[in-house]
Amino acid sequence: MITLKVNGEPRQFPQPLPISALLAELNLTGKRVAVERNGEIVPKSQHDAVLLADGDQLEIVVAVGGG
């Protein structure tokens, strides 16, 4: 079991998973999002390759209306 912090909320998964699998779990597959892991950007091209580990902190963002 691993615990990730996703947008400030703890979430548990049975085993380490790639970012693309996390996005699928969150119904974000195919959505335009950007991902930061432990303060570093993870480019889209690496979402399949980067395996998330226990304690990782993730920020997943979108564009919203703003001034």
Binding site: G39, E59, G65, G66
Partner: protein, 260 residues
């Protein structure tokens, strides 16, 4: 055509608009269309996990293929947060590097923290971003931001969302006179005359959100702002007549008046 050039790219509209505070995306799009704006600001926020993924997104309503996105750092109070936000924005928008930097001082005034703003600008410019920077109307800071390499300097007219209009036209004129990059009045515009005055002062463009979104009829106000910015620019280029205090000057011939 008297166009606006920012970081080497030419725009025909001198009105930049925000996309916040509208009642829905239809109104957002209608107002932006009425404004004629080509550059629109967007905010970067955490995904709403658990949200219905079929919900429309801002990117569907105002596609980045049609508008130049200007991701902002609204809500950031430190240079570090602003830098992180814009790196996320660049990743989100496929390497798009034109950004609006704003680092705020406190949540009551939303006044820019120029110390953190300068720090963030240094890092972002070195990192390859084209930085359009929100700042106070301090001419010294404005010049420092230009010297760092910001592609546009955007002093406030008055506090964000206040609608108080242009409180210090003299500082805006000093900034316009001393800088080479576009000077864009950002924040504080309340109605069309405020936008026209900003342009008459010689500023290169105006950026606004609440003045349109917070109007009784946002789409109509967007149209008014478009005309005000165009009128103000034309008046600036035309060169206004000198003000002649205590000295009237008749517009009609002074001879041939009946009974004379």
């Amino acid at each position: 055509m008297d166009s606006l050039v920012i970081a080497g790219k030419t725009y025909s509209s001198r009105l930049l608009v925000g996309t916040g505070k509208y009642k829905d995306f239809d109104e957002t799009r209608a107002a932006i269309d009425a404004s004629g704006a080509e550059i629109i600001t967007v905010a970067i926020r955490r995904t709403n996990i658990g949200q219905d993924p079929s919900q429309p997104s801002l990117l569907d309503a105002v596609p980045p293929s049609r508008f130049t996105y200007l991701p902002n750092t609204a809500g950031c109070y430190t240079a570090d947060d602003a830098i992180r936000t814009l790196r996320l924005a660049r990743e989100l928008l496929d390497g798009h590097d034109l950004v609006k930097l704003e680092v705020l001082g406190d949540p009551q005034s939303l006044y820019p923290n120029v110390v953190e703003t300068l720090k963030a600008a240094e890092v972002l410019v070195k990192d390859g971003f084209k930085v359009m920077v929100y700042t106070s109307d301090d001419p010294i800071i404005a010049k420092q931001l230009e010297d760092i390499g910001c592609v546009a300097v955007m002093p406030l007219a008055s506090l964000i969302g206040s609608g108080m209009g242009i409180l210090n036209p003299w500082n805006l004129m000093i900034i316009r006179d001393r800088l080479k990059v576009p000077v864009i009045v950002d924040a504080g515009v309340g109605t069309a005359s405020d936008a026209a005055i900003a342009m008459e002062l010689g500023c290169d463009a105006v950026l606004m959100n609440t003045a349109i979104a917070g109007a009784g009829k946002p789409v109509l106000m967007a149209s008014a702002m478009k005309k005000a910015v165009e009128a103000g620019r034309e008046a600036f280029l035309a060169g206004r007549m000198a003000k002649k205090i205590y000295q009237a000057s008749p517009s009609s011939p002074t001879t041939g008046i009946i009974g004379s």
